[in-house]
Symmetry: C2
Subunit: 316 residues, 2 copies
């Protein structure tokens, strides 16, 4: 085992969750959830998506949500956007840490179906985005690989293709004189298993030891905790996770698209392994229960129901 001493968790629950929930959640309750998350020890929370409100009505109030939260010192709040208009909305809040990515899509079929681009056309777009980031003085912290393990449109993604996409991204970074420090692997449609996680992470560590690796794991097939554990054994120390397992990918083309790795289940795992998260698990469990109350239906988290072992250990 090559466990890290500590892990950094990016909480994705608000962004992943609010975009997919069918019932209208009031701005007030969104703010309540984010403020509660800010008190758990989480250091990074994704809270907004500046996208077309007609396409993603659950995020239409993102600007207002960002304005109303209690910004907790030491917590970085983030959001996503996909075009100039979205970026301007994000920037105008003045409260978000804006970060750019070199976004790579090793699934040609996904590129075609969702972004209407060939891989070649996409590269051109990435170059334009880098120019924009520079102009807007937005730091680019990561190379981000969507559907790094498999894709419902394309099937299995060969690891060689991911490696060549990373190589292209590294080249793009050099050309634009930017220095991302993270390679982020997203299992967007839940095709990964612990072995494929270990293999891909190992290849990247061998070839790009100067980069940190971050994992974004969906739980559609119940593998997220096992996949995260595989990452921990490889020394991965950056994870996206979603409180109570909120969320899911609305573009995954099937109904079962479950949320991300559940944050409190992952924190429980880290606690048991002696890996620091900086998060107070008991507080986080309370927030998970709050999240379930806010969305009004059961969420997939386990530890929020089963409880941590802390009280049981104290009682025994």
């Amino acid at each position: 085992m090559n466990f890290p001493k500590s892990v950094h968790i990016s909480e994705e629950g608000p962004r992943e969750g609010f975009q997919i929930e069918k019932a209208v959640i009031s701005t007030e309750r969104k703010v309540e959830l984010i403020d509660a998350l800010s008190e758990t020890g989480l250091k990074q929370i994704q809270i907004a998506a500046f996208v077309n409100p007609k396409q993603v009505p659950g995020m239409a109030d993102s600007d207002e949500v960002v304005r109303q939260i209690n910004v907790k010192p030491g917590v970085s709040y983030g959001g996503i956007w996909f075009n100039q208009r979205g970026l301007e909305r994000a920037r105008s809040t003045n409260r978000l840490t804006l970060l750019g990515k070199i976004r790579m899509f090793p699934s040609d079929a996904f590129l075609k179906a969702n972004l209407k681009r060939t891989a070649q056309e996409h590269l051109k777009t990435v170059h334009e985005e880098m120019d924009q980031f520079k102009k807007q003085m937005i730091p680019v912290d990561r190379i981000s690989i969507t559907s790094a393990f498999g894709c419902n449109f394309q099937g299995d993604i060969p690891q060689e293709r991911v490696m060549s996409d990373i190589a292209q991204a590294v080249e793009i970074a050099q050309e634009h004189n930017i220095k991302p420090t993270i390679i982020s692997l997203a299992d967007t449609m839940a095709w990964a298993n612990p072995l494929s996680v270990k293999q891909l992470v190992g290849k990247i560590q061998d070839q790009y030891p100067q980069y940190k690796i971050s994992l974004h794991l969906h739980d559609t097939r119940g593998m997220a905790v096992a996949n995260a554990y595989a990452g921990l054994e490889m020394g991965v120390d950056m994870f996206d996770a979603s409180v109570a397992g909120l969320g899911g990918c609305p573009f995954a083309s099937h109904a079962g698209a479950a949320g991300n790795l559940c944050t409190e289940d992952f924190v429980f795992l880290c606690d048991e392994l002696g890996i620091e998260t900086g998060v107070d698990l008991e507080k986080l469990i309370e927030v998970a229960i709050l999240a379930e109350e806010i969305v009004g239906h059961p969420l997939p988290g386990s530890v929020m129901r089963g409880g941590s072992l802390k009280k049981l250990r104290e009682r025994a």
Copy 2:
């Protein structure tokens, strides 16, 4: 990785599930579920518990269930019992594979709370049980360790205690001239994590290489798949699992006691790793959906909702 080529799965869903469900499930529907499981390729199914019907009313019709199933050639059907009367009921069905266990409880607090015995008194009971098994000509195939990782009453269970319980059981087997071939570790109350699984399994493999190891993993804290994967990496090739995640332990003293490792999620994992299960995953998913319909509420399985990757691969 020291993956096994194939794994043996003991399906625990009917036994684990029917005992804990609050709504009455008709004998007919129990039989329907068991018969459907028999058609998936599973080779061992636990279908009955011959226990006090007043204490576990969901199992009161066990005798009738066993009589009504379609016995599929090649499938072994099992049940549990805790006393002479239960054993007689089990035997009188003439359709079950009756197997004895050397049952060890490394949690003194659990022994005291549930069985009203000290460890010393328990050893005496085990000797008596071995005498009974011999008299009744019931083969004893395993040493079974309950709460092998931790216990809500006792707290963490030191691995040294588990090892000394195994040593005692091995001694008992020798004294009675019986030859169990399996050491079964039950994470009855979901205290295990993948690291503790690897450590305990490793110790047992080192000291008792002639025994096969079997894992019985509860999913109360969302760790079951990760724990099972840890077992696979150690070469463990016998697992208990529960279709759709049916069930839970009624004696676990907390409401969150979730079911076992979900069978179809585990079969999915094995399929992805190239480990033979003998089970048709698509058929098993249909049975999981049937199980959910029969109990009348959502069950915790993931792949039954997210789907396997087979059709997506074919379509891509």
